[in-house]
């Protein structure tokens, strides 16, 4: 029984790992070997390191990598802070018209992103955000879904804890920072990891708001290996292999906490 289970799990695991293996294998091939038949995992007699050599010496891939890291780290931290504060206000403090304002927030979820691109582009030009990483960070700070999740968490938050803090003389800010925020670690960690992956993959925003290659992020860099007539898959896969490293490291470091946080807090918040 145990052996059978191992075999089934291994097969399922293989299905998930296959795209990664293909990606790695393709990154060491020439363009005209990408869709060769039969599929060859590695051409041992002629491994092509040229894709990596090109990326590391002739393209600004390391700059793209650092831009992506800056955008994602700053965005996630700001987003978490904003979502926690706003969620606390909507979920716990429940001020006057809170529900109405929150509904307006939610309504914003139904506006397709593409519709807001042109006004956003014009606005960013006026405030000088175009072709800067701020154009990617600022829109990421306010995320309605994150606010919604934190609000749900604070709706069920034990009120006695905060009341006790009030009794001890804490104000709203102090009780939030000292009591509510530490207890909201689990949903915030979940939110942080999900936001990390989401922002890391963003392509459309950098495409529209950035101009200079030295400001590009990795997803935009990956797409730049696309010609008028088709893709340069081998180079794209080599870049994808480089791009996946920070994501893998983040996930592996936080894997245990991530699973725990989902189990204890759930994505419900």
């Amino acid at each position: 029984m145990k052996i059978l289970r191992t075999i089934v799990f291994s097969l399922v695991g293989l299905i998930f790992v296959t795209p990664l293996i293909w990606m790695l294998s393709t990154s060491f091939k020439y363009e005209n070997q990408v869709f060769e038949k039969p599929f060859v995992l590695v051409h041992w007699d002629d491994i092509n390191f040229g894709n990596y050599r090109y990326l590391l010496t002739e393209s600004p891939v390391l700059t793209w990598l650092s831009n992506s890291l800056i955008v994602v780290v700053v965005s996630v931290l700001c987003r978490l802070l904003f979502a926690a504060v706003t969620g606390y206000a909507f979920g716990y403090l429940r001020f006057r018209y809170a529900n109405t304002i929150f509904l307006i927030y939610l309504a914003a979820l139904f506006i397709p992103y593409q519709l807001s691109l042109l006004p956003q582009f014009i606005a960013f030009r006026y405030i000088g955000f175009l072709d800067t990483l701020w154009a990617l960070i600022v829109p990421n700070i306010v995320d309605i879904l994150s606010i919604f999740l934190m609000r749900q968490f604070f709706l069920t938050f034990p009120r006695d804890f905060i009341h006790a803090a009030y009794m001890e003389g804490s104000g709203v800010v102090r009780s939030f920072v000292r009591i509510a925020l530490p207890l909201a670690q689990s949903p915030m960690l979940t939110l942080g990891i999900l936001s990390f992956f989401m922002i890391w993959d963003q392509y459309y925003q950098p495409l529209i708001f950035l101009k200079s290659p030295e400001m590009f992020t990795l997803p935009l860099g990956i797409h730049s290996f696309q010609t008028q007539f088709g893709h340069e898959y081998a180079k794209q896969m080599a870049l994808a292999c480089i791009a996946i490293v920070p994501v893998l490291i983040t996930f592996l470091i936080l894997q245990k906490r991530f699973v725990e946080s989902i189990v204890t807090a759930g994505i419900k918040g």
């Binding site: 020439y30 363009e31 495409l207």
Partner: protein, 458 residues
């Protein structure tokens, strides 16, 4: 003690924040020492120097050849600084539309025939003939007699290159099948191509080799019809003419090759395999009709696309009615000046140098006829000598034949983007056998006509 530790933490946080803030700023901010200059002003003039912004696809803008060309240009014209905005081709139109619609200052934009006509119809471009005169370019004569004004008697774009289409064939596939190579000067008819493709199709070492390769681009379906109708993609009242019997005949030809003779990859397999134009270069196909791109791969990107087979070139196939004639599907890639350009003269100067310097280095022949084409032909012939391709063939097929008959490669006059995308979406229904050709073409015509009329209304 506690206070001091707190101070260190605050200082460290401040430093981190400063670093992040500095990194987030654009390159303008990063290089501007004063920190007081407005970013919008900073973009442009510094003394007498002007900066032109060029929007191009990353396929060209990110190459070492292009960067070297820009350096040479800036050395030659120290008063002009070039800032290139490189955009992945997939999203080029979206970015272009947002930039131009928002009034962003762009001085020069790249485009193929469809893109530039789309820009003309949207009112994004300015006529350039007068500015071109100022830099010594006569739009009426310097690009050949076949180059005509695009709209209302005005020229709106500066041609970079015209595609030169031909038949490429894999000599190994022909040798394996014992089939003679096509004549280097006498074009095959499409019927002959179908017969040869069938003979070339076989299974070698367990691998299927198809005699004919196509791309999922419009001209591979309707291009034969374009040769028969002289590129008449529109009716006289500027609506879609795709249901013309000659276009229908063209599409039926490929259906026969693909589904009856089994000599081309079925379209469902083509799409599910992510097949694209580079797939031909892996060696598993006999013939393909293609423009100069395959030659460019062979000539300038040998190390990236190694082969263990030789290729040959022959004139583009023609319909039986045109037997013996040298034909070409004409499509022009170009650079155009948007209406909101602040430096149209400098932009056109850049365009002129672009065709004279950069285009040649990519293995393509510019339409600008004041450059030395002979050197180009000799260079290409030298690069292709391993494939036994002669200088005479190169001259004949790469733009040196004055008798070549050019017909439109694709529809460009009205709603070109919609025309092409609707066609490609719908035609799959026919090639996968879900419906007959007549209702499919009728549906395409209806949809395209609606798009054309909507654009006219706007």
């Amino acid at each position: 003690m506690k206070k001091r530790r707190m101070s260190y933490i605050v200082l460290a946080l401040f430093l981190c924040l400063s670093l992040v803030l500095a990194a987030c700023g654009g390159k303008e901010k990063a290089t501007n020492g004063s920190g007081t200059k407005d970013i919008a002003q900073d973009n442009n003039e510094t003394g007498n120097q002007v900066t032109i912004e060029v929007l191009n696809i990353s396929q060209y803008a990110d190459t070492p050849e292009y960067k070297a060309f820009v350096e040479r240009f800036e050395e030659k014209y120290p008063d002009i600084k070039v800032e290139t905005i490189s955009v992945p081709h997939e999203q080029y139109i979206n970015k272009r539309n947002i930039m131009l619609a928002s009034g962003e200052k762009v001085d020069l934009i790249w485009g193929n025939g469809i893109y530039q006509y789309d820009a003309i119809n949207k009112g994004f471009l300015m006529p350039i003939e007068e500015v071109a005169q100022e830099i010594g370019v006569d739009m009426t004569t310097d690009f050949g007699s076949s180059f005509k004004p695009e709209k209302d008697g005005h020229y709106y774009y500066f041609p970079i290159q015209q595609n030169n289409w031909m038949l490429y064939y894999n000599k190994k596939v022909f040798d394996d099948a014992g089939v003679d190579y096509p004549d280097p000067y006498e074009p095959l008819t499409w019927e002959e191509v179908a017969d040869i493709a069938e003979r070339l199709t076989q299974t070698v070492d367990g691998q299927k080799v198809y005699g004919y390769f196509y791309n999922h681009w419009g001209m591979y379906y309707y291009g034969y019809g374009s040769q028969l109708t002289d590129g008449k993609f529109y009716t006289d009242d500027l609506l879609s003419n795709i249901d013309d019997p000659e276009f229908k005949r063209s599409m039926e030809w490929l259906y026969d090759v693909m589904n009856n003779r089994g000599a081309a990859m079925p379209i469902s397999q083509y799409i599910s395999n992510n097949t694209d134009f580079l797939s031909y270069w892996n060696g598993g196909f006999g013939m393909v009709v293609g423009a100069q791109w395959y030659t460019q791969l062979a000539a300038t990107k040998k190390s990236e696309f190694p082969r263990d087979w030789k290729f040959g070139i022959a004139p583009m196939p023609v319909p039986q009615e045109m037997k013996g004639k040298h034909m070409n599907w004409s499509s022009i890639d170009s650079l155009a000046v948007p209406k909101n350009s602040e430096h149209p003269k400098e932009a056109l100067l850049f365009a002129k140098e672009y065709v004279s310097d950069y285009t040649l280095s990519t293995g393509a022949l510019p339409m600008y006829n004041k450059i030395d084409a002979n050197q180009y032909y000799e260079d290409i012939a030298e690069q292709l000598k391993d494939d036994d391709i002669t200088l005479e063939q190169i001259i004949y097929l790469f733009g040196g034949d004055p008798d070549v008959i050019n017909v439109a490669e694709k529809p460009v006059l009205a709603a070109p983007q919609e025309y092409e995308s609707i066609f490609l979406d719908q035609i799959i229904i026919y090639y996968t056998g879900q419906d007959e050709l007549d209702p499919v073409l009728s549906s395409i015509k209806d949809k395209v006509d609606r798009a054309i009329l909507e654009q006219k209304d706007r």
